[in-house]
Symmetry: C2
Subunit: 147 residues, 2 copies
DNA sequence: CTTGACCTTACCATGGTGGTAAGGTTCATG
DNA sequence: CATGAACCTTACCACCATGGTAAGGTCAAG
């Protein structure tokens, strides 16, 4: 009975309250990870009902979506902590954000190049492998050679 | 003093014995990881000196190099376990190996595409960000939008 | 005999996520 | 009002691959 249900009267007039499961569904971040992010102090401690259930506002859900999106874009938790700081900060300087994004792009480029190179090596090895019942296999031969 | 040093008489006539540090240096796999691989049964338990030091042969070092190379090519421990099995197996069938390699190539392709897409999104966002002292920042705006 | 470089085991950390167990709460239905 | 389903709570353990540290044993050279 305490406070939570704000009467589902159909109107979605601003700040609803959500329990963790609803917040998870709305934000796309699992309940598990919401608690985890709280423990990492990525998001503030949620307020609680009298029975200790976590309560989230629309604003909280919004922040969770922000995090979700940033994770999808490959930002680490630490980077997201910084982005959230800049986001919440009124006098946020776009320079910092841009710099982070560009650095991230550079890191991605490096990883992509690495993976492409590995991919090419593997594909090359596979192309020389008969792939039948015969024991000869250039892939294993390559692996067992001295590099 | 027991048994290990096989007299460094310059000749590299076959199976030398190595302690874990040497095996690590020769194979490119850290001592830490050699022990780890042993605990995972990826490699057989090393024989020991009377003072419990692990002892490795040239053949062992060769296997470690195999593992190292396979890791460099992005194979997981489980995959490497399979590859090692096929490698050590006389009647190794190249079909299995080729199939693993090609599947790995396909997974790499998928990951590369994902990363490229993320990279493009980020670069696009960054290109619209002034990157100066102004607070406007399309990157943060995108992150905080509903997706 | 001491010193330093090596080895041993056993533990903890990372990052991001999933699972499970054991218990409390809320609500609808019988 | 009692029961059960669906939710919530905390506290653990797991992955994968790797690095670190601590506390101790061993060995060769000085």
């Amino acid at each position: 009975m305490p406070s939570l249900q704000q009467s589902n009267t159909g109107d979605s007039l601003s700040p609803h309250s959500y329990r963790i499961g609803e917040a998870a569904e709305l934000s796309g971040v699992s309940a598990k990870m919401i608690r985890h992010y709280e423990s990492l102090r990525l998001i503030p401690k949620a307020s609680r009902t009298s029975s200790d259930y976590r309560v989230y506002s629309d604003k909280d859900v919004h922040a969770l979506k922000f995090i979700r999106r940033a994770r999808d874009l490959g930002f680490s938790i630490k980077e997201i902590a910084m982005l959230l700081g800049l986001w919440r900060n009124q006098r946020r300087a776009s320079a910092e954000v841009k710099q982070m994004a560009l650095q991230h792009v550079a890191e991605l480029d490096e990883k992509i190049e690495q993976m492409k190179s590995i991919r090419a090596t593997l594909a090359e090895l596979a192309s020389h492998c008969h792939g039948d019942h015969r024991p000869e296999c250039p892939i294993l031969d390559d692996l067992s050679e001295q590099h």
